[in-house]
Symmetry: C2
Subunit: 219 residues, 2 copies
């Protein structure tokens, strides 16, 4: 698949690297096509890995993954260009974390709205799916790192076909079907983003490596 990863941070690099390994055509998009982090990533990733601008990356992609900082995501997607997002599967893994008052951050969108829904409203023809925002990058691409993969990832989105594409990609990343929890429509992204404060607290008090996750247990 042709996948554009928007964002050059740890989450973007980790996901981009894994998708190259899996045989996908990956372009890392950033504000500047010559962004040294993206260029260096593309050179070291090999294969068909490329670096480009946000719009250059989005243009040819079938799947676009937003791995920019949550508070910068709308701007990044505007740069990518609305026309380049139309009809595309847009995976939103970002969290709207507001660090302006220090650590731990608060949420810049919360409660009766979410970043994912905001993106969907601004780009109504994109097919937004929220996933993977509830864990550290290492686990996203390698669930086996923790408890043999016996923990959960969530998906939320209004477009069933787009969600099916995302579930397929999660399977390629190593997520077992039984651990991919479909929470329904994109408004469930509120719940997934509001989980972040608990994740941050656990990181602070329990495991600063961030290599932990939650597993749903039931009777």
């Amino acid at each position: 698949m042709k996948i554009a990863i928007l964002g050059t941070g740890r989450v973007g690099q980790t996901l981009a690297g894994k998708f190259v390994q899996l045989g996908h055509e990956v372009t890392m998009g950033s504000r500047d096509a010559a962004n040294p982090k993206a260029v260096q990533w593309a050179a070291s990733a090999g294969g068909s890995a490329r670096a480009d601008s946000f719009s250059g990356a989005a243009q040819g992609a079938e799947v676009i993954l937003n791995a920019t900082a949550g508070t910068a995501s709308l701007q990044a997607l505007q740069s990518a260009g609305s026309a380049n997002l139309d009809g595309k599967v847009l995976i939103d893994v970002a969290n709207p974390l507001d660090f302006s008052a220090g650590f731990p951050p608060s949420l810049s969108v919360v409660n009766t709205d979410s970043l994912a829904e905001t993106i969907q409203r601004v780009f109504p023809a994109a097919r937004v799916v929220k996933t993977l925002n509830t864990m550290t990058a290492d686990l996203m691409v390698n669930p086996q790192l923790v408890a043999g993969g016996d923990h959960d990832v969530f998906v939320a989105g209004d477009d069933g076909d787009a969600k099916a594409v995302v579930v397929g990609l999660l399977g390629e990343l190593g997520w077992e079907a039984g651990h991919i929890r479909d929470l329904g429509g994109l408004d469930a992204a509120r719940a997934l983003e509001m989980y972040l404060p608990l994740w941050l607290r656990l990181m602070m008090t329990f495991d600063q490596s961030g290599r932990f996750n939650i597993r749903i247990v039931s009777a």
Copy 2:
């Protein structure tokens, strides 16, 4: 221990009943000392179980447990009387759920504040500990109901001694020490209350009985 349970709903009744079984002196408090639900509960619970007003229940108690609806909690605690809360361990299990726009509810306090912190500010001499708000009542008093008890409960509070009392009571309820996760100060209540939207989504999509919980897994 002398325990006041404020609130006559399912959470209050379930916790009150269990604490009676454990040999505690439990008084169920409500707006009206003659509240039929509380009177009936006290009669059927036997032992030293009593029904009283919020203030009557709080007055003699060593531990006060807020199991009222989150949006009514401040009013209930005002009725209990500030002087009756001073120096007491005040366990807050409530969630600030706002159902005014239907289901699922939003949160009436969120992000940079929490119900538990609000209570602590209004009653500065109470020793507030947040716990048990992240699961259905049946599980609070019987963690073994699910996965042999292999799942987690959280505590947050600024008073270490009060937190130790609460951890002791959680142990009596059946929670193993390794599954009681101390998230630090009372500001962590934000994270615990903001988890509720995810709990509600899981209830809606995964298990409407509510008999599920999360377990933290790590490497």
